[in-house]
Amino acid sequence: MSEFATVTVTVNGTEHQRLVEARMLLSDFLRHELGLTGTHVGCEHGVCGTCTVLLDGESVRSCLMFAVQADGHQVTTVEGLGTIEEMHPLQQAFQEAHGLQCGYCTPGFLMTLLPFLEQNPDPTEEEIREAISGNLCRCTGYQKIVEAAKLAVDKMAAEG
């Protein structure tokens, strides 16, 4: 029945294969099929950026993709960024700069900033603000997120 399709997708380096309804959103697939609940859902219409993940290294809204569209692709979620014991320098920077409060929007910001900082190792504050302008945060007012990004620049450079 073509309302279902098989998806074979590599998430954080691990391959998964599932038969799912074609209409299942990638965000729901990651969270509920694969149990990777670090990616959060804020709006399901592509504006808030909370659900941002990487598809083949590029930031995308996982609520605006069907899981079956990820077939044959690589997805990276926040769980692929670091662990509690060993956080990525970007995550460390967020903690040090108090770049999160409730933490709900945070995975989306991390997955947006990661490729941005990797490609722009020396951004201006204005460039950082523009890079995160597609992510909504209701708690922080963004200032400490920007500071976290600037701190991450230094930390990521130190790591080499």
Partner: protein, 295 residues
Amino acid sequence: MKPAPFEYFAPNSVEEALALLAEHGYEAKVLAGGQSLIPTMNFRLAQPAVLVDLNRVSELFYIDPYPKSDGVTIGAMTRESQVEHSSLVAERAPLVSEAMPHIAHEQIRHRGTFGGCMAHADPAAELPTVAVALKANMKVRNQSGERWIPSEEFFLSLFTTAMMPDELLVEVAIPPLPPRTGYSFMEVARRHGDYALIGVATTVTLNSKNECEEARLVYVNGGDHPFNAQAATGLLKGQALTSDAIEAAAETAAAQDVEPPTDIHASADYRRHLVKVLTRRSLTQAAQQATGQGD
């Protein structure tokens, strides 16, 4: 907000896609980038029975020079971010490059497609406006063959193009700008990346006497589809681009050419006012750029 169920097909070629469209007719909807379609499906405002996903039709992903000219051709499924960062586009269709960063946000542009945006025909979107300003041509195909539709005839009204249900947009061909042409893209939006309240794509081509040979003024949200402002551009033809001439064109565009909508963000009056302001600013910028070019 979960979408209603649908039958899903992911063809690998345009031929396969066209066969599916022919088979399912009005029941089928084409899925390109999904950045406009999927939200409406999540809201259940759209509930297509069949979805034809073009994301595996690799033959539609390209940016190439236009054969034997300085124009550029863009395959319909090319990602907006590819167009945004393309040096070929920057060289041959810089007005497109100017407009790209205004389209939503980077995450959207990573999936959204150049052709998908055109086919969606939202008068509040930037790309249809730019296409009309640049006199782009749309190549559409069905099982019987191909045809070209000039962009001015392609966008008919709100979310409506001149394509038939069994036709697919496969390419957008953008001719080069004539020599001594300046261009400008401006928009006013409530927040960075929002749909424009009003936007304008402007080109000004000068003759050897620095008079206006031709101007094109095409608006985002100037009506239910993008069109060249006839009255305003007509006024400018043959004129020196003094500030008075530009002001007159701006007032004419606002008063006669546009029919902007009223919605919760802005009244038609305020939008007309913005048309006047942006027309003046963009014409000034485009004219300066054109004179700067010399021959």
